[in-house]
Symmetry: C2
């Protein structure tokens, strides 16, 4: 089925203990659509960039099957820019610089040909803009997945809570879940979030995997124990792209299939952190992905005598 | 097969955000033998207490099938006492008071009838004492499992490293693994520990489950997502008791069976935290344990189309 992703397409400059980059291509929607491209060919993007954004990168998205009809290029304006520096533990980072540029007045226009999309991924951006996207869809998608971040929980809490009433799945990390609910125990935090609207909550725990809460059931997905995390940028978006990409491909939103989607998302994220930015997810083979998924199977399989 | 546990039998006084206790029964070997009692009936204890230790608690151990021939009662001396207070997040705690008492001169005597024990659990105590136990076994057990803590890594590092050369399995938590090896990444930390001696390393991650590293293979066990951790005291020892108890019962130290043992240990630990001290693991039914294990199966089961 068709997937629509709305979010940022941006420039990032990154510094990790392993090195630093100049401006490279980043943005939530970039990672999401690239990751989803390994699962679905009906992969539609709504985003905005300035005219400083290189055609070559748009070509890369197109070569991955991403439909860029909804990618607005604003003349005379500059692309969103973020630069960040990771601490030695790779779990915390400082934002060095943010230039909102075109994102300051992002007015997401949904092309007519996207209106029938059945799977909607709201990549991380201001909740008011994400909500505008939901309202601009003439037909409600079968599944709306929302990503957000600590910033919005803090400065746009009311907007976020209004949006939560209209989405099916919220993806966030453990600290964000605690921040949003004021509850340290993730089981209780997930229950509180479900009461806010989404039937399904996915709490990402980085190196500790992810928890999927769906109605009254829970699935604990492991993370691949890695010797080295080279650059965590985009791992969460890559997870989301694999998750919704698998659901869109299979058009099955049962709990069992969502569990598989979490594993596919986790596998995609485990590639993402191996190199700077999106580099590692630009050229993956189906076989590499399947082998990685098999590692998750081996990692968590056990049998008990009943 | 027969199991021998050596470690502390003690008094604890605990304070958590949910309440506080007077002196209750604690100690690594208490939790280990109680937990193991649900798996093996050949369950032998070496420990030391003062004559202030209540006969009723010894009777409780005996009623769980624990052989207390090796429990030395020192006349005119007092039992080891620890008191601690947990912070609101339940992940950190302060030691309020420690009275070593009889543990200051613990000289573990292995009764002759214990000499053929095939499974040896070295509960947390000074590495020099743990090493003495290994040396006093006339026949090397089939499997020696070691638990330790941050204190010994800090103040008895050389003793601990000498001991590591003589054990098969080390059980420790993530912070201890990082402290022992100086490596943040747990995969590398486990590899470093294996180079120190143990073929198998289990890294406990609390609410994030446990990682089992066995030769070149890894198993990631989930933890049950709990609404409430009432009191974490003894959870690590209870895990160790379930782990080695299952191995002793089945007499199978293959990777597949160690995975099962980690799940049984995790299930036992998930009971332990539900009440103060050892209260919850005093009266468990086989059915309760099996149901809990089934929750772990449901929690982590998924299938992917290959």
């Amino acid at each position: 089925m068709s997937l629509l992703t709305v979010g940022s397409v941006a420039f990032d400059a990154l510094e990790t203990p392993f090195g630093k980059t100049d401006k490279i291509i980043g943005g939530a929607a970039t990672y999401i659509t690239l990751s989803a491209s390994y699962f679905t060919k009906d992969n539609n993007l709504v985003a905005v960039v300035g005219d400083d954004f290189p055609q070559s990168m748009i070509d890369t998205l197109v070569s991955h099957g991403v439909n860029v009809d909804g990618l607005e290029i604003r003349k005379g304006e500059k692309t969103f820019f973020w630069s960040g520096k990771y601490h030695d533990d790779m779990n915390t980072r400082d934002t060095v610089e943010v230039q909102l540029n075109v994102m300051e007045h992002f007015d997401p226009i949904i092309p007519d040909q996207y209106q029938d999309c059945q799977y909607l991924m709201l990549g991380n951006t201001a909740p008011a803009i994400q909500h505008m996207v939901v309202k601009r869809m003439k037909n409600r998608p079968k599944l709306i997945v929302l990503d957000t971040m600590n910033l919005w929980i803090e400065i746009a809490n009311a907007d976020l809570k209004a949006l939560l009433r209209d989405v099916d799945v919220l993806v966030l990390n453990d600290e964000e879940a605690r921040q949003l609910t004021g509850d340290y125990a993730l089981v209780r935090a997930a229950a509180t979030i479900k009461a806010m609207g989404p039937k399904t909550v996915i709490i990402k725990k980085g190196e500790h995997g992810a928890l999927l809460f769906h109605e009254d059931r829970i699935f604990a997905a492991p993370a691949l124990p890695l010797e080295e995390v080279f650059d965590p940028t985009g791992a969460g978006d890559t997870f989301a792209g694999g998750f919704i990409g698998h659901l869109a491909k299979t058009d099955d939103i049962s709990f069992d299939n969502m569990k598989r989607a979490v594993i596919y998302g986790s596998a995609m994220a485990s590639f993402c952190v191996e190199k700077f930015g999106a580099e590692r997810i630009l050229n993956l083979s189906k076989e590499e992905i399947q082998n990685r998924v098999n590692e998750f199977v081996k990692l968590s399989a056990f049998s008990v005598e009943m």
